[in-house]
């Protein structure tokens, strides 16, 4: 057998991961990081701030992975669109605004990240209040976000996480 034929029949060691599987794993990590980071008394301040920074980075990756959906829905928002999609879009905008505010205010009032933000020290109390308020709201908005995507989560969790079905994929 020639070398080319051998290469074609050899098992592919580095199979490409499907986008849905990647999304599922990332989303599960995001939810876990979110609920853990939300409880300062559980993590302690240093882990809370570090996890918050990583959560912000993971959120950017999450947005990049869903960028095509964001763009297409933005273009068709005011045209004929299913009401559920429109509600989903509005909720996602609210979630983005809330979490972005949460991450930015968290960085501004951080005490263990080594950032010397003297310019915001005078208004640190107000920023802290905003951080707490957005944190409280984020749980409800995240819960609604998960609820609206429940079918997708269940479908792909069964497909990629259950042992029997995982072997087929």
């Amino acid at each position: 057998m020639t070398a080319i034929a051998q290469a074609q029949t050899a098992p592919r060691r580095f199979a490409r991961i499907s986008k849905n599987r990647l999304n599922l794993y990332l989303d599960l990590m995001l939810v876990l990081a979110f609920v853990v980071d939300l409880e300062l008394r559980f993590t302690g301040l240093q882990i809370h701030e570090l996890l918050g920074v990583f959560f912000g980075a993971a959120l950017v990756i999450h947005l990049i992975l869903h960028w095509s959906w964001i763009v297409s829905l933005t273009r068709t928002f005011f045209k004929k669109l299913v009401h559920e999609s429109r509600l989903n879009y509005v909720l996602n905008i609210a979630l983005f605004a809330d979490v972005a505010t949460l991450v930015v205010t968290g960085i501004l009032i951080s005490r263990t990240l080594g950032l010397d933000l003297s310019a915001v020290q005078q208004s640190s109390r107000a920023i802290e209040q905003i951080h707490r308020l957005t944190a409280d709201l984020s749980l409800l908005i995240v819960a609604l976000h998960v609820a609206l995507h429940w079918k997708w989560i269940v479908t792909h969790a069964r497909k990629y996480l259950l042992p029997g079905r995982q072997a087929a994929h």
Partner: protein
């Protein structure tokens, strides 16, 4: 096939409701259950949010006076409770489980309320659809 999928969906919803109910009972038994809508009715200045709630089973004696604390005070206060602010306080795991419970509970409510509403809207649209010409 469609009937099996529908049955699987119903079973999934029932499992979700059972998990939410069991989780709620367990959290209530350990003193970690709070009204998740409470945060919407209190101000950010003086009221209690999710992070301010006291829990009977997990609140250390020094903080049982019910006074609201800031994030900075709670972060620094962890050092005074015999633990380091850098380490995980496993005694507060109930808070994390409560947050997970809120997410599952809201999902269950949306599924239970949204499904009949969606079907009603679909039914109304079908009633209002124009009859095709013969």
């Amino acid at each position: 096939m469609a009937r099996r999928r529908k049955l699987n969906g119903i079973i999934g919803v029932l499992i979700l409701i059972a998990v939410v109910a069991a989780g709620g009972i367990a959290l209530a038994a350990t003193g970690n259950l709070e009204n998740p809508l409470r945060v919407l009715t209190t101000s950010s200045g003086g009221g209690e949010g999710f992070q301010d709630r006291d829990r009977e089973g997990f609140t250390p004696p020094a903080q049982q006076d019910g006074t609201a604390t800031t994030v900075a005070e709670r972060g620094g206060g962890a050092e005074g409770r015999g633990g380091s602010s850098d380490s995980i306080q496993w005694s507060q795991i109930g808070s994390v489980l409560y947050d997970v419970w809120v997410i599952l509970a809201v999902t269950a409510v949306v599924v239970l309320v949204g499904t009949p509403i969606g079907r009603t809207i679909k039914w109304l649209r079908q009633r209002g659809a124009p009859v095709p010409a013969t």
